[in-house]
Amino acid sequence: MNFLTPTEWAILGLSLKVSLVAIGLTMPVAYALAWLLARRRFPGRMLLDALVHLPLVVPPVVTGWLLLVVFGRQGPVGSVLQDWFGLSLTFRWQGAALAASVMALPLMVRAMRLSIEAVDRRLVGAARSLGASRWRAFLTITLPLSLPGILAGAVLGFARSIGEFGATITFAANIPGETQTLPLAIYSGLQVPGMESDVARLAVLSIALSLLALLASEWLVRRHQGDRAHVL
């Protein structure tokens, strides 16, 4: 395909890799948090809720800086990862994925939580009385019934991580082929006069990507809900 240069293809591929890995790994965590916040009352619940929202409130650059403090080479987690597993996150695509994941988390948790709260708990009771364990009732009732929220969370999270800039450039830097995702490339283009057309191509690219994600999720919802939509 000739409408993209090889570099642009590489950037696209990297962005996709970073976002998909980020969202894939964050989904279960986000869902667990959403479930806790929706269904459990425990001390510190409000605190957890606030913590989850943090990356939304704090400017992305600060989030990136905090990631550096915690996951950097000198950081408490980063040094352990480095010494024990030889894993370094800063300046690596894994770091970009971590940044994308943290920034997407609050959006995902909220959407999932809304859907979990909307699940009729009496159905869980019915499942239990039919012999389902707590766990099976969760897997077969709560989880599938909160699918709209899971999909909405995935779409929001994917879009957010495709667009993530501030935390990524601060924590993972702007290394072509390693951490230079679409928004970083777009930003670089914007810094130089006269690069508007390159920027536009990249912007169209990220829009196309999210449009695809959007279409996919709509399709999934339709396929899943089929004809069981309510009638007036």
């Binding site: 159905l123 009385s129 389902a132």
Partner: protein
């Protein structure tokens, strides 16, 4: 004894008390609207915790506040036909029916489907069922979980006479041939009189 139940429940500001001690295989639970019949069934199924009391059905102690016994709902072996059906909206009728299915069921899926005449509904979503169709699917789902006892909350509501008659006969067979304890909530005295002469009234 088949049923040995004595419990007290709190719902909002109301206290509901219920005592049943009987060897009859089928006991009818009656009482005015709002007396607490559904609440008692919920307590027996383990979905509502009584303030105190005990629940024994057949040989099994399901709940005993004195002995601190409180079986999980899934361990109680209840076949509960809910007053409000509670079909799983995201599973087709067929998948609803088999949800609680266990090996060694005393009734086969085919038998249930033909007895309840729900063969044509298997591929439908619950939201598209009529009231009586949903009721029959709810009955089928409970039967297929091969329960140790049945809790039937107005199982014949919104069913036409021929279909109701069919189900009454099925209940009689379960009571007599399978000797499975049945607790039935009904507002129809004729229905009750036909099935049992042990009536527990609350409220």
């Amino acid at each position: 004894m088949c049923f040995d139940i004595a419990l007290e429940l709190v719902r909002g500001e109301r206290r509901i008390a219920c005592t049943i001690a009987s060897d009859a295989k089928l006991v009818a639970l009656t009482g005015p609207s709002g007396a607490g019949k559904t609440s008692v069934l919920d307590a027996i199924a383990g979905l509502l915790r009584p303030a105190h009391g005990h629940i024994r059905i057949g040989e099994t102690v399901l709940f005993d506040s004195a002995q601190a016994i409180d079986l999980l709902p899934e361990r109680r072996g209840a076949g509960y036909v809910f007053q409000d059906m509670r079909l799983f909206p995201h599973r087709r009728v067929g998948a609803n029916l088999t949800y609680g299915q266990r090996d060694g069921s005393w009734i086969t899926t085919d038998e249930v489907i033909s007895l309840l005449d729900i063969g044509k509904l298997l591929d439908r979503w619950p939201a598209t069922l009529s009231g009586g169709e949903a009721r029959r699917v709810a009955i089928g789902r409970a039967l297929l979980s091969s329960p140790d006892f049945l809790l039937l909350d107005e199982p014949l509501a919104s069913l036409d006479q021929p279909r109701g008659e069919e189900i009454l006969r099925l209940i009689e067979r379960i009571r007599d041939e399978l000797t499975i304890p049945i607790l039935l909530v009904s507002h129809d005295p004729a229905e009750v009189a036909r099935l049992t002469d042990v009536v527990a009234a609350i409220g």
